[in-house]
Amino acid sequence: MEKIRIENLSLVFGKNKSKALKLLESGKNKAEILDATGCTVAVQHANLSIDEGEIFVVMGLSGSGKSTLLRCLNRLINPTTGKIFINNEEITNMNDRELLNIRRKELAMVFQHFGLLPHRTVLSNVAFGQELQGISKAERETQAMETIDLVGLKGYENQKVSELSGGMQQRVGLARGLANKPEVLLMDEAFSALDPLIRSQMQDELLILQEKMKKTIVFITHDLDEAIKLGDRIAIMKDGEIVQIGTSEEIITNPANDYIESFVENVDRSKIVTAASIMFSKPKVARLKKEGPAGVLRIMRENGVEHLPVVRTNRTFLGYVKLTDVLRLKKEEAKTIESIINESVMSVTPDTTIENMLPLLSKTNLPIPVVNGENHLLGVVSPTSIIAESTGMAKKEIHEIIQKAIEL
């Protein structure tokens, strides 16, 4: 279900906004508009739809407009044109009172440098949102204590936040965001100021929390690894434009342009790319009932292969047959290949990552069958393509290496 929708949102900083906007409509780019009007285009023509319960990551380098876009969602910054809907309610035309209400009830925000009140305790920082709503001290502190427990800060509630480490402070920031029980959590580079170890720990904890809470999270980051780890879907921004939206696998296997390609170049693909996207989906098969040894031999010769997967007529995967066995059967003039099917073949599901397929290569040199839940054969993944994906080498190079190895 759709939670947040952004329609054709543009944001221009500067004095001559209307002129800049006209130029933007006429298709001028950011640099041309800056030259002509002195205005900076921070976000241009953004369109997004974010589903309920997903972690949606907006990724981009600094100056790409990602934080600005996030601030439009709770109108810390007002967009120049365009509309934003949350729960199908238009945020962009709300008056001050309605806006205050939606900020208090539905949207919470977590900041890069925490944005906590240094002169207050952990408890009163976490209860701050409810304090603003005028909820009684006893009630808000009871709720705050629950949230403090949730983020693992129990025992620290009476410390001043300025006495805590960065990681702890961001837990307070997160707890403050959650204390209001908002439906949407806006996280602006929330873990970027933390050191790597703590950052990865916080990412794990966020994912665990999200399992329980199922909030809609909009997460801003400049770190692709973080985006991939957290994001159900990712939007990549450059110069105020959303260049591509998709799952991490879609972006990595099918980058929209050179910019994204260069961006995702160094990603560890083996953790993201799955069998589904590298399998050969119409492999030649031997059908158990239809083909006898002679038929199977013909298919093998036509395709120049020494192994064939065997399926039942309904595509249920049975195993592999080997060329030498088929030849032997043919000599014996057997009617069926049933006796020579090697059933001890490891198969994988379409969402198996390359990382998890790699160990199989040590046990077999056969193409790895990909099957669905009902054991129907969907395709095969050749060992060469697994190596190609995980090393980034061309398939041809790998063939040469294998050939040389065999010659030795």
């Binding site: 810390l76 900020r103 900041f111 002169h119």
Partner: protein, 273 residues
């Protein structure tokens, strides 16, 4: 000079047309000063000394408490107690009024770009115009005495607290302001719960500066008849009595140091040194 002529005309016009207003201000201010002055005059000197020392101990530590006792005893035995209390009352009254006007002005100029553009040059003017110059219109508006002295003091002492209040509020990190807004704070809540508490150390530095400037001005204000230590300093100058001038000058310095030490530490939580 034509400009001087205009200003003279304007002041004369104001004196003639707003005399009712100035009279009201005169009565209000003089009764405020009278109340404060008679309170400190009524309090026996040892109680006053104990009170000051207690506050100094609480806010600024033991050594400052001792300094306070020694300083005030010196003033008492030098025979300037009554004048010192008059001066103190005048400082208290003028600084109070300067703060009541100055802090809101500072908040306003921090929040409003236009207000800041208007207020800043006025503050420059107020701070750099030689202090004696304020005495002239003050006399024309209020006649001779303590009230015109207080009036000139208020004008002279207000700029630091306005500037530092404004600075303090602007120095609150943008992210904290954003966070407060993001959780649905009204502008009033933002000011009271976040901006003022975080700006407090800077604002109190402004309060301290305002009090110190008020003290330096009330001495000058004795030239138009304000009572207090300034009178004795003036007497020392006009009669060329070096000893008297020096002693009374020293009393001003001691009062200044004591007020400074106490107000400097207002923002900090109580501590023992």
């Amino acid at each position: 000079m034509i400009l001087g002529q205009y200003i003279e005309d304007a002041i004369n016009w104001m004196t003639a047309n707003f005399s009712g207003f100035f009279d009201a201000v005169n009565i209000g201010m003089s009764s405020l000063i009278d109340v404060i002055e008679s309170f400190w005059g009524w309090l026996p000197f040892y109680v006053t000394i104990a009170l000051f020392a207690g506050i100094a101990w609480w806010k600024a530590g033991k050594s400052n408490a001792i300094l306070t006792i020694v300083g005030l005893l010196f003033i008492y035995f030098a025979g300037f107690w009554v004048e010192t209390m008059q001066t103190f009352a005048l400082v208290l009254a003028s600084a109070f009024i300067a703060l009541v006007i100055g802090i809101p002005l500072g908040i306003w100029s921090a929040k409003n770009e236009t207000a800041q553009k208007v207020i800043r040059p006025i503050l420059d003017f107020m701070q750099t115009m030689p202090a004696f110059v304020y005495l002239i219109p003050a006399v024309l508006f209020f006649g001779l005495g303590t009230v015109p002295g207080a009036f000139a003091t208020i004008i002279f002492a207000m700029p630091p607290v306005v500037r530092l209040t404004s600075l303090g509020i602007k120095q609150v990190p943008e992210e904290i302001v954003e966070a407060t807004k993001a959780f649905g704070a009204t502008p009033g809540q933002l000011l009271v719960k976040v901006q003022l508490p975080l700006a407090m150390p800077t604002i109190l530095a402004g309060v301290n500066q305002t009090i110190m400037m008020a003290l330096s001005m009330v001495v000058i204000a004795s030239m138009i008849g304000a009572k207090g230590l300034g009178e004795i300093v003036l007497q020392g100058i006009s009669q060329l009595r070096i000893g008297l001038g020096f002693e009374s000058g020293l009393a001003v310095v001691l009062l200044a140091i004591i007020l400074d030490r106490i107000t400097q530490n207002l923002g900090k939580s109580s501590k023992k040194k």
